[in-house]
């Protein structure tokens, strides 16, 4: 038996609390360190000047007015989905079905635009497709919630599998409504009449979406922090037994919250189809139903902080693709850089929560 008679080199203990500027400093240091590592990796793997690569990263996100608008639009959609999954997460209901709920909401909007495009006045058509998107998203969220509330099924698997059902439904209807026949895609819906398209504010194609999500962010903040519903769902998330003890109907709160969560995902689908893309494909959500989970977690489920985390993720993604095209590198290289930066940012949370004690150099106490 080896009896090393030495104090351990480091030992870890939990921190109590730290002032905000300290934690802010740790995060800033993490980002600086991330860029440093990225620079080394870039030089080692590609021989490119790291400064030029970083400049491209920023150019990709902010380079032109158009790029900035795309950045903002992408933030808005990602943030919208993140806001949607947050109440479920606060309730410890692991809704990873955002992807499917967005798709089904988008499908409902597309169906209204295609089937009712020439039958209803435009304002009414938009209202009907919005309602259809919200309802179908809500339904997609409510199904796993009802099963969870009644039979305690595993919501993670359930919501995940609902994603595949949604994808296949969209794939089916894309073939039903394909234009022209045999194209395998729908193309722009109502291109000439623009029926069911969300109106543009001035020349700014994306502005309406961005404003809607901004309002939604504030509303969600107030809902979670100040409303009775928000309070109930936090109690359910923290301890179901406490919730029952004070007479909260746990099943009802679960279903209600997932209806809300699904409906907002449906809204994101609506904004994508009626607001910007004016078509539907199986990849319209683009994995954002999953990225939104990270946005929500990184922000500690605070809707206001999610503005920053969604910005960070979209910024890294946009910058990474610009690097890939500009330097004629594989797209994977951009992802490597984005991955390094995320690793450092998430890793810095460890140092905010825990403290390392190093062995003192010489301990001569006599």
């Amino acid at each position: 038996m080896s009896m090393h008679n030495k104090t351990p080199l480091v030992h870890i203990s939990k921190r109590r609390e730290m002032p905000w500027y300290w934690s802010f400093g740790i995060r800033a240091a993490a980002i600086a360190a991330a860029f440093l590592v990225c620079a080394f990796v870039t030089m080692a793997l590609t021989g490119e000047n790291p400064l030029a690569v970083f400049a491209t990263l920023f150019y990709g996100a902010f380079g032109t007015e158009r790029k900035i608008w795309i950045l903002l639009q992408n933030i808005a959609i990602l943030l919208c989905i993140a806001l949607a999954v947050t109440p479920a997460f606060k309730m410890r209901f692991w809704n990873i079905g955002g992807e499917g709920q967005v798709l089904i909401g988008g499908l409902a909007a597309a169906a209204c635009m295609i089937l009712l495009g020439d039958k209803l006045p435009n304002g009414l058509l938009i209202a009907v497709s919005l309602a259809a998107s919200l309802l179908s998203g809500a339904l997609w969220g409510a199904i796993p919630a009802v099963f969870k509330a009644k039979w305690n099924t595993n919501e993670t698997l359930f919501t995940l599998m609902m994603n595949y059902v949604a994808t296949q439904l969209v794939a089916f209807f894309v073939i039903v409504w394909e234009v022209p026949k045999g194209a395998g895609k729908i193309g722009i819906i109502n291109q000439s009449s623009e029926a069911g398209w969300l109106p543009q504010i001035g020349d700014y194609k994306y502005l309406l979406n961005i404003l809607i999500v901004a309002v939604l962010t504030l509303a969600m903040y107030v809902y979670l922090r100040r409303s009775k519903h928000g309070y109930e769902l936090s109690v359910v998330g923290q301890s179901e037994r406490t919730a029952r003890y004070v007479g909260i109907k746990v099943g009802r709160v679960i279903v209600r919250t997932m209806i809300l969560s699904g409906a907002i995902c449906g809204l994101a689908g609506f904004l994508l189809v009626a607001g910007t893309d004016h078509t539907i494909t199986t990849t319209i959500a683009g994995g954002r139903g999953f990225t939104a989970v990270m946005v929500s977690w990184l922000a500690g489920f605070n809707p206001l902080s999610m503005v920053f985390t969604s910005f960070l993720l979209v910024f890294l993604d946009r910058g990474a693709s610009e690097i890939a095209t500009n330097f004629m590198l594989n797209h994977a290289f951009g992802d490597i850089l984005a991955g390094i930066i995320l690793f450092f940012i998430i890793g810095s949370e460890f140092f905010i929560r825990y403290q390392l004690h190093f062995r003192k150099r010489s301990k001569k106490e006599v």
Binding site: H4, K228, E232, Q238, S239, R241, R244, G247
Partner: protein, 512 residues
């Protein structure tokens, strides 16, 4: 005692958690052939100190000596290598394995595992010290006391000769406690060093040779047990004079308030938890409920509070004018809507009564958040209530926005009791209201419960400390395996009587 070499010496041990100084330069010696009682209030640092000895925490400063040699204990494995074994309050056993399998779990012995040899060695340990366990019994079939025995044999099997027991009697009946003490005395005789962490004075007096007292993380001093008494130890522990008598005012005009009749409750797995239980709780009276833990106390209180489905029987709430309402089949909201105001202090404070991650104000809101028609919560009144509870019950907290799980056990309980009695209830249900609380907090809770009694409230007090039950309660219902084995007068009953009723179902015949 200075000529002996201490088995363990702690020198200037300091440990802090963030800004909290849990142990401040503590010096303590533990000798072989001796039982040391480590006494102190909650949060005084007893468990922290012993956790450093058993390798769970690592001290910030200070030195540990084993048999006079300086050592470093940075993991439980190191602690085992030095022969230190700790029996924690919460057992760490695998339910589906047998006693013998649990005991050898994780041991790396060369060659193939020979369970019959293991069983033989276990039997030998049992014979030496007077334990009674069957090595081949599954843990899920065991009583709490048997599980504890397995934990103790486990550390002995691994060759521990320095044993630390963290509040070992909290879960035992008086008879089981006596058995445990007999075993510990045998171990002392065979030269083991034993430390027991406890709050209970009579145990210190009955068992230990020396007492070391901690107060707020600091070492106060040590005494030879035979040269001290409960009052002196308490004063040292608390740092000032405390009265050890619990008040028991005569009930004023008691009238039936809750009538439980022939109540049976089955758990989800179909086990009969309550079997034909009948009794009456009167207003202005404290009705004690005694029993080995798991005899149906939890189900009984939860059934009254509307949280437990009932198989058969009735629970009637009797108004001042004599009209009765049935509570069976109603949920907590329906009970509240009927105008029946129940307050319930459950056993699992942070898992049921409070939300650990929420702050004091939000926890006060749990009972009242529905009031008003607005969709938004009103935080003003809960905040005022939180301020009032903090002030009146002397809750030690950094502020109202501190999550309650950061508070010590006693303060958590004050927050919970404070909230529950703030609703001016007619019936107060309490489960293990002082479990894990130090003397000062316990007496605060007894005082609060007595105030409720004097205000004409019917109090049901589920307790485990028989001395307290006998001093506090007017009548005592004894439960055994889900049945009422006797109802005694708190002023005339004896501890032995209750202890016997706790373990025998046929009790009611003798006391008919």
């Amino acid at each position: 005692m200075d000529h002996r070499v201490a088995a363990v010496s702690l020198r200037n041990i300091t440990k802090s958690f963030g800004t909290i100084l849990a142990n401040d330069k503590i010096n303590l010696d533990i000798y072989r052939g001796e039982i040391l009682a480590l006494l102190g209030e909650n949060g005084s640092g007893k468990t922290t100190l012993m956790n450093m000895l058993s390798g769970i925490y690592y001290p910030d400063e200070g030195e540990i000596l084993i048999d006079g040699k300086s050592v470093v204990i940075s993991s439980p494995k190191d602690a085992f290598a030095y022969g230190i074994g700790m029996i924690h309050q919460h057992f760490k056993l695998v339910d589906v394995l047998t006693a013998a399998e649990n005991i050898v779990l994780g041991l790396k012995e060369p060659g193939r595992l020979n369970l019959s040899a293991v069983a033989e060695k276990i039997r030998q340990i049992c014979r030496t010290y007077g334990f009674e366990i069957d090595p081949n019994q599954k843990v899920y079939d065991m009583s709490v006391s048997q599980k504890q025995t397995v934990e103790i044999v486990k550390v002995l099997y691994r060759g521990a000769d320095i044993l630390i027991l963290d509040e070992p009697t909290a879960v035992l009946t008086p008879q089981e406690t006596e058995k445990l003490f007999a075993v510990l005395r045998n171990m002392r005789r065979s030269g083991k060093a034993i430390v027991i962490i406890t709050h209970k004075m009579h145990e210190v007096e009955a068992l230990s040779d020396r007492v070391a007292v901690l107060n707020h993380g600091a070492y106060v001093g040590e005494l030879a047990t035979e040269k001290t008494n409960a009052q002196e130890m308490t004063n040292m522990m608390v740092g000032h004079q405390v009265s050890l008598n619990i008040e028991r005012p005569e009930p004023v005009n008691p009238k039936p308030r809750i009538e439980v009749e022939n109540l049976s409750v089955r758990s989800i797995d179909g086990i009969l938890k309550l079997d034909g239980v009948s009794f009456t709780a009167n207003s202005g009276e404290i009705l004690g409920i005694a029993g080995i833990s798991g005899s149906g106390q939890k189900e009984l209180l939860e059934a009254i509070a509307g949280l437990q489905p009932v198989e058969k029987g009735s629970i009637r709430y009797i108004e001042d004018d004599g009209s009765a309402e049935e509570l069976v089949g109603k949920d907590p909201l329906e009970i509240e809507a009927m105008g029946v105001s129940l307050a319930f202090v459950p056993e699992d404070r942070l898992g049921m009564g409070l939300v650990g991650d929420m702050d004091l104000t939000d926890n006060m809101m749990l009972r009242s958040f529905r009031s008003g028609s607005s969709i938004f919560t009103n935080r003003k009144e809960p905040q005022a209530l939180a301020e009032q509870v903090v002030e009146q019950l002397e809750v030690n907290t950094p502020g109202l926005s501190t999550p309650v799980r950061r508070l010590s056990g006693g303060n958590v309980q004050k927050v919970l009791v404070g909230r529950e009695i703030a609703s001016a209830p007619k019936v107060l249900l309490t489960a293990y209201a002082v479990r894990g609380l130090d003397i000062n907090s316990s007496y605060t809770i007894y005082r609060l419960i007595n105030e409720q009694k004097k205000a004409g409230i019917a109090v049901l007090y589920v307790g485990e400390d028989l001395d307290v039950l006998l001093e506090l309660c007017d009548r005592i219902v004894v439960l055994c395996a889900g049945r009422v084995s006797g109802i005694l007068d708190g002023r005339t009953a004896t501890k032995n009587q209750i202890g016997l009723l706790m373990t025998q179902t046929g009790g009611e015949d003798e006391h008919a």
